[in-house]
């Protein structure tokens, strides 16, 4: 009992002392889930594939912990027919998810049921289907359904990730599913490739590259590989960021004499200046409603995060602590901004409310950079360097453990999650 009180005290003091450099850890405990997949004998291989994809998805979110099937008391087949909740309470299963995989004609079908043994309750039922080539997508749909039914937020398991790998002087653009499957090089031999941003719809990427030692902004068509320059002014052409509706691209240009945020109208192909200040203004990010842009500015001497209304007005400062705050990225729910901050001579990934309150440090690391939100706002990607290798990592936005999502033998940076 004394130990328990001590633990509670430690937990409380950790959450309260935000001024100390504590890495935020949510008190959330992963839910124990028993996952049962059944199919006819002729689909044994596909059954195992679906099981592993669903299990990996749920565990990777750090909201779930998969129970070992060897610990199951009840038989899978009979649980499919008639669940006995007691058998699952005994082994500590917070949830039991059953999935019956069948193939009718050219279609895969997954019948999913989610049970709460401790409340002896069937939580949700759904039948999902995909064509014969879509078993992986179907598996992610099953994971999405379980995630949404239990957590109350849509899953991000059918999303994709782009990142950059640098080999000597050249950089390639890499595409993969969020779980690392289908990894492939989609753009080759860029002379520097910085700040890629994925357009809504997923076909185009806006990026900053160099041609003949001159920086420029390009759109890259993922379906054709076509590169089209849309910004090659004198000086800086950097940090492109699509508006939520895809109509505009905000970027930092310096042809006016110093770095300012400008807006490019994708349809009209025209630019207009958005910020007007002699300090550096860069790395724009849009609020999800498209009404605000947050950005980094050193207008008060050090780089800090500000936000300004699209309709005009004064820039309001968001970051209140630390002498170095950069790379803001607005969360899809709009409530928080992720950014890179300097604390105690160490760079860290952190999030903060729009009014500057509720600062949470999530991770530290050498050259920690480029945060990017998952489409449901539950996870963040970033790049960091350990032992001389830059990799992309994933961490829950509510705290938790950082896990690499790119191989250990390959440079990886500038991750961007599909919207």
């Amino acid at each position: 009992m004394r130990l328990l009180l001590l633990l509670i005290f430690i937990t409380l003091s950790t959450t309260l002392s935000a001024v100390e450099f504590d890495v935020y850890q949510s008190e959330y405990r992963p839910l124990n889930i028993a996952l049962i997949v059944d199919s006819g004998a002729e689909h044994e291989r596909e059954k195992m594939q679906l099981y592993h994809v669903v299990k990996n998805d749920l565990v990777s979110s750090q909201s779930f912990q998969a129970l070992d099937p060897l610990s199951f008391i009840a038989d899978s087949a009979s649980t499919m027919e008639q669940i006995d909740y007691v058998d699952w309470r005994i082994i500590g299963a917070d949830l039991v998810a059953t999935c019956r995989l069948t193939k009718t004609g050219q279609k895969w079908q997954a019948e999913v049921k989610i049970h709460d043994p401790f409340r002896s309750k069937l939580l949700a039922v759904s039948t999902l289907s995909r064509d014969a080539t879509g078993l992986r997508v179907l598996s992610h749909q099953v994971a999405d359904f379980i995630y949404r039914s239990v957590i109350g937020v849509r899953g991000h398991f059918n999303s994709q990730i782009l990142y950059v790998t640098k080999k000597g002087e050249k950089s390639d653009l890499i595409y993969m599913d969020q779980d690392g499957a289908n990894r492939q090089t989609v753009g080759k031999n860029f002379t520097l490739l910085l700040s890629p941003d994925w357009a809504p719809g997923g076909r185009f990427v806006a990026l900053n590259t160099y041609v003949g030692n001159r920086p420029r902004l390009e759109t890259f068509d993922l379906t054709t590989g076509e590169r089209v320059s849309f910004g090659s002014f004198k000086g800086l052409n950097s940090t492109p960021e699509y508006s939520p509706d895809g109509r505009y691209i905000a970027a930092a240009l310096s042809y006016t004499g110093n770095a300012e945020i400008h807006l490019y109208d994708v349809e009209q192909r025209t630019w207009r200046q958005f910020t007007h200040h002699p300090g550096i203004d860069t790395t724009p990010t849009w609020s999800p409603d498209g009404k605000w842009i947050a950005f980094t500015s050193n207008r008060n001497g050090t780089p800090q995060i500000y936000r300004k209304k699209l309709s005009g007005g004064q820039a309001e400062r968001i970051s209140l602590e630390a002498s170095y705050n950069t790379s803001p990225v607005w969360a899809p729910h709009g409530d928080r901004i992720a950014f890179i901050t300097l604390k105690n001579w160490e760079y860290a990934l952190a999030t903060v409310h729009i009014d500057g309150s509720g600062l949470r440090y999530l991770a530290t690391g050498d050259r920690i950079e480029s945060p990017s939100w998952s489409p449901n706002g539950q996870m963040l990607l970033y790049s960091a360097e350990y032992g001389g290798i830059r990799r992309v990592y994933r961490i829950p936005a509510w705290g938790g453990k950082a896990e690499p999502v790119t191989p250990g033998n390959m440079d990886a940076s500038d991750p961007v999650w599909s919207r």
């Binding site: 520097l192 910085l194 700040s195 900053n208 030692n213 001159r214 920086p215 004198k234 000086g235 800086l236 950097s238 940090t239 930092a252 310096s254 004499g257 110093n258 770095a259 550096i280 860069t282 790395t283 980094t296 050193n298 050090t302 780089p303 170095y324 950069t326 790379s327 890179i340 300097l342 760079y347 050498d366 050259r367 950079e369 480029s370 940076s413």
Partner: protein, 161 residues
């Protein structure tokens, strides 16, 4: 600025001075050509002609783009030389160390290049002869970590085309 980085810059400056003799010869030979011959003779005879500067790099403090006295001295020499050689155009390349955000560093490198350009223009060099570019932290002169390396990488180079 700490002692170590000061020492590094001093060492670099000394190395640059030692190699200055060679650099001067290269300039003369590269200018050899019938059309430039008379001009070259006039310049060589004039006691007012500026020498090719011993250094074309200036260094900055962390997250800063302002020029210290040492930088201004180097830029004075470069401005004088450029004024005497008005056929030469240059690009000022701004760079940063690896600390902080790469995207912010891109803007900071541009600001460093711009502050060098502004100084040269204020000292009589035509703005149309000076181009600027920032490589942020993407092209470090010193590939590695640590204060000595970082000090070398926070720089702007004046490169003639």
């Amino acid at each position: 600025m700490n002692k170590f980085s000061k020492f590094t810059i001093a060492a670099l400056a000394a190395a640059a001075l030692l190699s200055a003799g060679c650099a001067k010869k290269e300039v003369v030979s590269s200018e050899a050509g019938p059309s430039t011959q008379p001009v070259r003779t006039t310049m060589a005879d004039s006691s007012m002609a500026a020498e090719k500067p011993s250094s074309n790099a200036v260094y900055f403090a962390f997250d800063k783009s302002d020029l210290d006295a040492a930088s201004r001295a180097i830029l004075d020499a470069n401005a004088a030389w450029l004024s005497d050689n008005d056929d030469i155009t240059v690009t000022v390349e701004g760079n940063c160390d690896e600390r902080g955000s790469r995207e912010y560093n891109l803007a900071l490198g541009q600001r460093r290049a711009d502050s060098v350009k502004d100084y040269l223009v204020a000292n009589g060099v035509d703005a149309s002869r000076i181009d600027t570019v920032s490589f942020g932290e993407e092209r470090p002169a010193c590939k590695g970590s640590g204060r000595a390396c970082w000090a070398q990488n926070r720089r702007a180079d004046i490169v003639s085309r």
